[in-house]
Amino acid sequence: MSNPDLSLDQLHAASRRGRVPTLVNELPRLLGILVLLVGLVLLFIGDSFSLNVLATAFLFAGLATAWNIIGGLGGQFSLGHSVFFAIGAYMTANLILGYKLSPWLALLPSMTLGAVVAALVSWPVFRLRGPFFAIATMALTEVALALAMYFESVTGGAQGLSVPFKAGLTNMIFRDRMSYAFLMLGFLAVALLIFAAIRHSRLGYALQAVRDNEETAEAAGIDVLRTKLVGMAISAALMAAGGCLYLMYVRVVDPPSLFSLFDVGVKVALIALIGGIGTTYGPLLGALLIVPLENYLRAELGGAIPGSNLLALGFILMLTALYLRRGIVGAILKLRDRSWRILR
């Protein structure tokens, strides 16, 4: 222990001692990022193509942040989150079409149903670990797809459900794209706030402990199953809220667009993975990169060679898996650490 750097090390540690990051420390940064994003929207006033891309990017950033609660913090690599997304969309559509309810009021029941279904279906699946868990959640998606096709009275079957165009704030339907961009930004803000709050709470530490080592977590008094279920339920509730907003944006939902694996279930995991799994702003970065890129690829390549856009995205994922194990945010943090060491 006669390391000459020790005194420096000690100083460094002493400066950090007693300082655990809390939600209050995170809020200024969160607010700053949201202000930047508002600026980004204002930059594209009148450009409805770009605003559409931004609205979609914000929606998926919010969804990937929701996924990140159980997938990133909790380490449960779900590929079946489209199920909860679809529940939100179908629940809202039914409440609007059947009961003339405002989508704003449909949010709460949609989220509740999403959370309840998530807890019920996850209960048995959480017995599985690692890749087996991921595969089981993929299977859940296929089951949900079959059910959605079958129960036409609730889902409209293969034809899907559509919400009539009646513009107005109470109907959550707008004529301009900018309002949707702000709507989705609001969703993203709520998702980020909830993620940060969980991350800096007892639940967040429990989820990370479960992710890193279930046996130790148990021995430390953490109810592993309950922790996973709570994380999954919150994550699913946010997915359902996203499904509700998605429905109001496109006004028509059908099983293929909700359940086909790449459209939602795998995409949210992919976005979080590329951005930085388990980090607060990784999913946001991932979405800001992937969604515009995907739009571009679909427009440029998809027409010429069908499916080539997916091929390109798959290639990006492989590169990330090989060279950026902890995503873009992980790479940035590593760079910062390195430069810190050099400066020191």
Partner: protein
């Protein structure tokens, strides 16, 4: 007289045909330091896993303060006052040293700041305070073992089970842990320790249990047990005449 802290009655655990723990009975009183020794594969760690609930006994009962806890899960037993370390050091590798200790502190505390304060005080006890901000994966093996002790202590346990916590520590660190255990014991914590270092065993435990092939071979003071013919035989084999 009140019920002993721990009371094992004919506890067995079989894995197929293997009797890893075979009809073991003993009691632990409040405030003891008990060492468990025995050759490799004697069933020491299996016994620990039965006590903390990682495994359920095949037969027999485990009483904690007079109540049967044999069917309780590990996290329930943690809440009752069981803290433990693992033979193969188990830390949360992607979390910092402080966060690892905090996971233990959260057992009785829900506020993050308070949990961090408790965790820090335990890190100071084991001499890891200056590494609080590091990832636990960056620690040396000895450091990770001490971190496990800190995490267990942050749970404010009544009974601490240390599984070969001295392995991989240097002499100074061993002495530090010894002093710490004695200090905590004086404050009322009971210890159950799996230990290979007989010097350590002699130094701090009044009672030693010897396991061999899953069975309790002998128990008594260190001197008694170590001079017992059956114990010597279990360790180094029968003398050939």
């Amino acid at each position: 007289m009140t019920a002993p802290l721990l009371d094992l009655r004919s506890v067995s655990r079989h894995f197929g045909g293997l009797r890893a723990v075979d009809d073991v009975s003993f009691t632990v009183s409040d405030g003891e330091i008990i060492s468990i020794i025995g050759p490799n594969g004697a069933g020491k760690t299996t016994l620990f896993n039965l006590l903390t609930g990682q495994l359920a006994p095949t037969s027999g009962s485990i009483l904690y303060l007079g109540k049967d806890i044999g069917s309780l899960k590990p996290h329930h037993r943690a809440r009752l006052g069981f803290g433990r370390t693992f033979q193969i050091s188990q830390t949360m590798m992607s979390m910092t040293v402080l966060e690892n200790a905090m996971v233990g502190a959260f057992l009785h505390i829900s506020a993050v700041r308070e949990a961090a304060e408790k965790a820090e005080s335990k890190l100071e006890l084991v001499g890891l305070a200056e590494h609080a901000g590091r990832r636990s994966g960056e620690l040396t093996l000895g450091g990770r073992r001490r971190l496990e002790v800190a995490r267990a202590l942050a749970m404010e346990p009544r009974l601490v089970l240390l599984d070969e916590v001295m392995a991989g520590l240097n002499q100074t660190e061993v002495n530090d842990v010894l002093t710490l255990v004695e200090k905590l014991n004086a404050a009322g914590t009971t210890f159950l320790v799996i230990e290979h270092n007989l010097k350590v065993v002699r130094a701090f435990s009044k009672r030693v249990l010897v396991l061999n092939r899953g069975q309790l071979l002998a128990q008594g003071s260190a001197d008694q047990v170590l001079s017992d013919a059956t114990v010597i035989e279990a360790y180094i084999g029968k003398q050939q005449l």
